[in-house]
Amino acid sequence: MASAKDTLNMGSVISFVLPNTTQDPDMCNNAIYVTDTYTAEIGKEIKQGERLSFQIDNIYMKNGAITSDDVTGTPISIPDSDALGYQRQYWIESGACTANFTLGSDFNPKDDHKLLVAAFCVYDYGWQGTSNIVNLSFLFYDVDTGTITGQPLNTQSQYIMGVEMAQAPPLKYEICNTGTSTIDTNTLAHFYGAISYGWGTIGYARAIKAAGFVLATSLASNIPIFDTQAHAEAYLRDNTILEGLLNGGSDIDPEEEYKSQFDTWTIISTTGHNTRDSQAGGLVNRNYRFKPYQKGISFLMITPTADSPYNLRLMNYSGYDAYTAGRGVTEEDEFVPAAGVAELYLDRSLSWGADNYYTQFGWKSNIPRFKTEQECNDYFNGLLDISAAANYAELARQDNSIIQSEWEGADIDTETSLGTNGMQYGHGCRLYAMSNIELASLFTELFDPANINDILDGTKLFGAASDCVAGIMYLPITDIEEVGNAGALANIKIGSWTSENAEGRRILNNSKLIDCGSFVMSPSYKDFRDYEPYTMLFCMLPMVGFKQLTLSKYMDVDNPKTVSVKYAIDVTTGATCAMLFANGLLMDVFEGTAGASRPFSAIDNNNYINQVIGAVTGASNSASGSIAGINDAVAGAAKGAKIGGAAGVAGVAGVAAAGVGVAASGIYQGYQIQQAVDNPPIMSRGNLSGNLSYYTVDKITFMIAKKRTIRAENELEAIGYPSGHGATVGSFSGFLSCSAFKMADGFSGTEAERNEIIEILKGGIYID
């Protein structure tokens, strides 16, 4: 089989509309049809692998049954029979002509709300043999039930592909002849064509007899296109099986961030089955069954231009990974015919036969649309802002729009920049890290009578030896290297006196943070209950205290965050701060005191007490306060710290219950009352400071408080979940209650009926 890969050019994505049995001008009764017109050499036999190209000039849609009289052009002569015994066979006689087909009585959409999906199959047929014919199989996707029903057209049917003949060839379809050119002798109507609806399916024309031709259309898409249904199905079952892939698929490597932006749907065939058309006596018709995929997919489109008004390309963001069910792409903008091209589309007001109307080729999409492929690629690569999209104004108005805010994109921080402490300890001030034994050794030397004169001599500049000692502080860490750099053990130098035996490690700087570790904050419910007030987050920070955290800083239901904590400890003051990060971004900073002073003098002791009391209560005592007064203050501070609290949880705004299937409002009120009396989890006041803090937690401990809830298992089916989505009623399934409803044009009921409909929808309906 000749590869069609090279011949698939960038083509068009055609939208489709809802067929309707009523003569509703707002809804096209049938699909978009494309006629072909081309000139072919009479009698030219199309060999295997060959293809014919032709131009399709326009697209229109027809409301109602289309007859062969509807389209101008030279009709193809339809003989009763030919030398080969075919009763109806179409071929080109001379010059440009139009193949006209009419949807016959067997074209019978059963319900109002169906989408017409047309595809046709590639078959290996034997010429004048017993092989099968290609048929245009019209398939309907019922948006209400999500099912596909096939309406294969039998040989009695006639089909029209409506394209207004014009000068410019905006569309070009080309289909490879993938097999032998054969025709079932029983076939009465032979028509080969491909209609792609951007769902990744395409059929291939089969060459017919020498007097016939291949209806060639070309389609470009990075939606995978396979040569046979079997290969398509194999791929859909296993995305690694690419046998029969014709178009190479996606050539765009999208950024990860774009992959979930859009909510479009595309249908791809998952399974198909062959059915026998007994009427045709062995004719095999394939009914494609389509199944919507749930995973999101992103698309861009290239808008029509004056040069190629229908040359659109649907670019697939996510390659082969996922395709979701789609209802095509429609745009309701006015389309201006290209200059020099007469009637590229026909206005709705133009009548085409009695009671039939043309429907404007419309587009409406939340897919960003750009004018050129280059713009598309630039947008993909982050070089072009979405505001450059041709339909940006419409995107901006849509709910859940994909407008890129200034807080998104490549400029936002992914990590908080932290400073570094560059202070060095040296001239005039030394810090030593010492163990208890080393400290004892120092004081033994200090208070040795034999050393007093040397000590006084070495410290007389400061008045007293005690004045040389700025402080002795205890830190709850085992190694000074956790918070800074230190030298090796060395004798202690106080003033100009140096100890003989006592040693300590000289602290050089205080430049390090303590990395306390991290964990992933995972949601429990993956819904609103993972946030306040149903879930609350607290943190017990050593030397700082209990802190309540804003949960949304650390919780992302869809992308769990890594929560980490770092401590900075000032070795000169003992002050500490705990820094809480989420995904590397600093979220909270809490201060406390890690160091516990070991008083060295009376003044030092008084200062220390002030420090502790101040940290706990915010009060302080004077330097001359009595011991009793100090003790009372400390005791009072301890009593003042409360465990528990009375702050109620904010009530949840209830939705007024109404209509069928919605819970009674009493339940909502009861829940709110319950929330109001429930005590929130632990609260604490003040900070844990110094020595006092050593009696509490020694590890950073996070506490989650989860409200117990009951969510009925059948809630989704019975009354749905809260929505807020805006769409047509038919876009929903199952239960639907509306907060707003706008009746479409064409409502023929009374005001009373309209009002009743509104009330019914507010109360809730089941779409089935």
Partner: protein
């Protein structure tokens, strides 16, 4: 001018009226006379008594081009039955409704789990869970920091 009899097709419908589809069976064509001056939105149709009619709950009246559900059981009046009908607005205008725009308050298909759901019931109390980070401060094995004034480096 007295009301004239009009054809009515009775059905047995098994689908609730708040569903968009109807399951109609046992079609029975009868003739009935609408009461005068009654709004065709909720007409009352007088028909000949037939016990079988009492088993029906749905009908189509071509005169009004509408489907109706029985608002209540037919009442007997002599040898007549009076059908109390209510236009099935949802079914009659289903296609227009389906292509009408709406904003969903609750939905089984398009919803947002992050929107607070008042239908979720809260149970008294909270559950508490703790998780500690690996780093441990050691107030039992700490170090002393001696800060002194000292000459030289």
């Amino acid at each position: 001018m007295p009301a004239v009899p009009i054809p009515i097709i009775l059905y047995k419908n098994t689908k609730p009226t708040n569903h968009t589809s109807r399951t109609l069976s046992n079609a029975l064509q009868i003739s009935g006379t609408p009461r005068e001056d009654i709004d065709p939105f909720m007409p009352e149709i007088t028909v000949e008594y037939n016990a079988a009619i009492l088993t029906y709950n749905f009908c189509y009246i071509a005169e009004y081009q509408r489907y109706y559900y029985f608002d209540r059981l037919p009442t007997v009046s002599g040898k007549k039955l009076i059908l109390h009908l209510h236009a099935d607005s949802l079914y009659n205008f289903k296609s227009t409704i389906m292509r009408s725009q709406c904003i969903a308050e609750r939905s089984s298909s398009l919803y947002d789990l992050m929107v607070t759901d008042p239908a979720v019931i809260g149970v008294a109390g909270y559950e508490y869970f703790e998780r500690s980070l690996p780093y441990q401060f050691r107030p039992d094995q700490g170090i002393y920091i001696l800060t002194v004034a000292s000459g030289g480096n």
